[in-house]
């Protein structure tokens, strides 16, 4: 069954898109990751224009974050104060990011920047996860060491300190603000929530307790991706709601499958598998960038710049 996507301006097989939504949704359910960093490149591989894939994926992440944050909220695992500071930075960052996106698009370089960003981030994350899961598998038998709650470093010397009760922190607001800005830019350009950067940054840079990290990250992702969706729709017209709805349906089903599957499987091996998948996607993008194209000339989208 084919459906014509009004913004992407092509027709797609509904079942392929639903399947993709279910697949990535299942992974999200198993690993508790957003999945945007897998979904956007996969959409591009399917032939969706990269700009549309990014804009639409931002829209879809709004939904999955809303769904995800409620569970964390009920358990009291959201630091709203920290989340608000992060989201102020995130809104600034994503606004700048969409503006940058528009300029790069007019220069005809947006596809390249999206692909290069993916190579860098998928490469780093894939490798880190792989190393982490191998270490975890080796550590499985030996007893775990206790880690300090957080360490004091130069970051604690910054001005504009603020108390974050839930996170048990007294730190400068500049740091979460800057992290928010950085992740906001990534979110706008890559069509991701940015949890895969935000979560490690919260744990290792801010020193937040892991219990509140995911909930707080999801909370701010809602607003940052909503801002990115709004601006992408207004400035670039690259949000395809028909595609977003198809992905949503798949993701809702997938998340359910994922939590069921996830509870029955070993964590470290699964994480290693996810790492391999991330690296495979990364490798495919690198290959596409390096291989000599059959056709050296391309028709520029929109034209006339």
């Amino acid at each position: 069954m084919f459906l014509y996507l009004p913004i992407a301006e092509l027709s797609v097989n509904v079942f392929v898109i639903l399947g993709l939504g279910i697949g990535v949704g299942t992974l999200s359910g198993i690993f508790g990751v957003g999945g945007g960093f897998l979904m956007t490149p996969l959409l591009i591989f399917l032939g969706i224009p990269p700009a549309v894939a990014v804009g639409t994926e931002a829209n879809q992440i709004v939904a999955s974050s809303v769904s995800g944050v409620l569970a964390h909220w009920r358990r009291g695992n959201v630091d709203f104060k920290m989340g608000s500071v992060l989201l102020v930075g995130g809104v600034i960052g994503s606004t700048f990011g969409v503006w940058l996106f528009k300029i790069l698009r007019e220069l005809g370089q947006i596809d390249l920047v999206i692909m290069l960003s993916y190579v860098v981030f998928l490469g780093i994350i894939g490798l880190l996860m792989l190393v982490e899961s191998i270490r975890a598998m080796q550590r499985a038998r030996s007893p775990a060491r206790r880690r300090k709650l957080h360490q004091h470093n130069f970051l604690h010397g910054l001005p504009f300190k603020m108390r974050f009760r839930k996170s048990k922190l007294y730190i400068s607001v500049l740091l979460p603000l800057l992290i928010g800005v950085f992740v906001g830019i990534l979110s706008a350009i890559m069509g991701v929530g940015g949890g895969f950067v935000m979560v490690p940054a919260m744990i290792y840079l801010l020193g937040m307790p892991t219990s509140v990290v995911v909930g707080t990250s999801l909370f701010q992702i809602i607003f940052v991706t909503a801002n990115a969706t709004f601006l992408q729709a207004t400035l670039n017209q690259t949000v395809d709601v028909v595609l977003a709805i198809l992905l949503l349906i798949g993701a809702v089903i997938g998340a359910q499958v994922g939590t069921m599957v996830g509870s029955k499987l070993r964590g470290e091996q699964l994480r290693g598998l996810l790492a391999l998948m991330v690296l495979t996607v990364c490798g495919k993008i690198v290959f596409d960038l390096l291989v000599t194209p059959d056709e050296l000339y391309v028709i520029a989208t929109g034209g006339g710049h």
Partner: protein, 246 residues
């Protein structure tokens, strides 16, 4: 009997003669409107017509004219990136040629150039400063790209002739067909000269929800953005409710 047959032949001659004097070529399409709906995967339009009996027929289907940019990929540090862009004005978004016979054999070049019959005779002018050799490379690339996505004809298509007077053919518009106003021009050519031309309009547009979504997205981007966010938030809440019930 003979009288009767003669009368019929005479009547036909008179009819054909008058038809030929008035309209040496007549043509029609099975539809003058192609609707792109949610399930659109391309469509065929039947083109049919008749001539007064002398000469060959060539049909040109031309989509709306637009500005098209062509970029050349360049390898920088091993990575292929988009390099120089050349813009072309008045590029038909869609272009197909159908004819009763091989055009090279019977249609003089001057006529083809004047009427832009055949992709190689399209009047595609690059904008800005560009050398002739480079311009023709970009031009060829533009045509290749258009052929690749099915918007320009790869090969000359044949019109089927019946009885030397009736012709017909199907024209395929692919799923990615550009929307807008099309013209179907039919030329009757005799002895290397165009003796008659007929032009039929054809409109291709999105209709239904797809069209509304596109229109709102492009004309009311802010409203569209807000609607997209509202849909996503509701879907998120709905998804969460599903989880709770389990």
């Amino acid at each position: 009997m003979i009288w009767r047959a003669a009368m019929v032949v005479l009547a036909f001659w008179v009819w054909a003669g008058s038809a030929a004097r008035a309209q040496p070529v007549v043509v029609d399409l099975s539809k003058d409107f192609v609707a792109i709906t949610a399930g659109f995967t391309g469509t065929e339009v039947l083109l049919f017509g008749a001539t007064s009996g002398y000469g060959e027929v060539v049909v040109v289907i031309e989509g709306p004219k637009e500005l098209v940019g062509v970029r050349r990929k360049e390898q920088i540090a091993g990575i292929w990136i988009n390099g120089r862009q050349v813009d072309f004005k008045d590029v038909p978004a869609f272009y197909q040629v159908l004819s009763t016979n091989s055009l090279d054999e019977w249609l003089p070049l001057a006529v083809r150039e004047e009427n832009q019959i055949g992709v190689e005779y399209l009047n595609l002018k690059p904008r800005g400063e560009i050398g002739a050799a480079e311009a023709s490379e970009y031009r060829a690339a533009l045509i290749r790209n258009k052929q690749q996505i099915g918007h320009y004809g790869q090969v000359e298509r044949r019109l089927q002739l019946a009885g030397g007077r009736l012709f017909r053919s199907t024209v395929f518009f692919p799923a990615n067909v550009p929307v807008g106003k099309y013209f179907v021009r039919t030329y009757l050519v005799n002895d290397g000269k165009i003796v008659s031309t007929r032009t039929m309009p054809l409109r291709i547009s999105k209709i239904g929800i797809e069209a509304d979504v596109y229109r709102v997205a492009h004309q009311h981007g802010a409203l569209y953005g807000i609607a997209a966010i509202v849909i996503a938030v509701m879907a998120g809440l709905g998804g969460n409710a599903l989880f709770q019930r389990r």
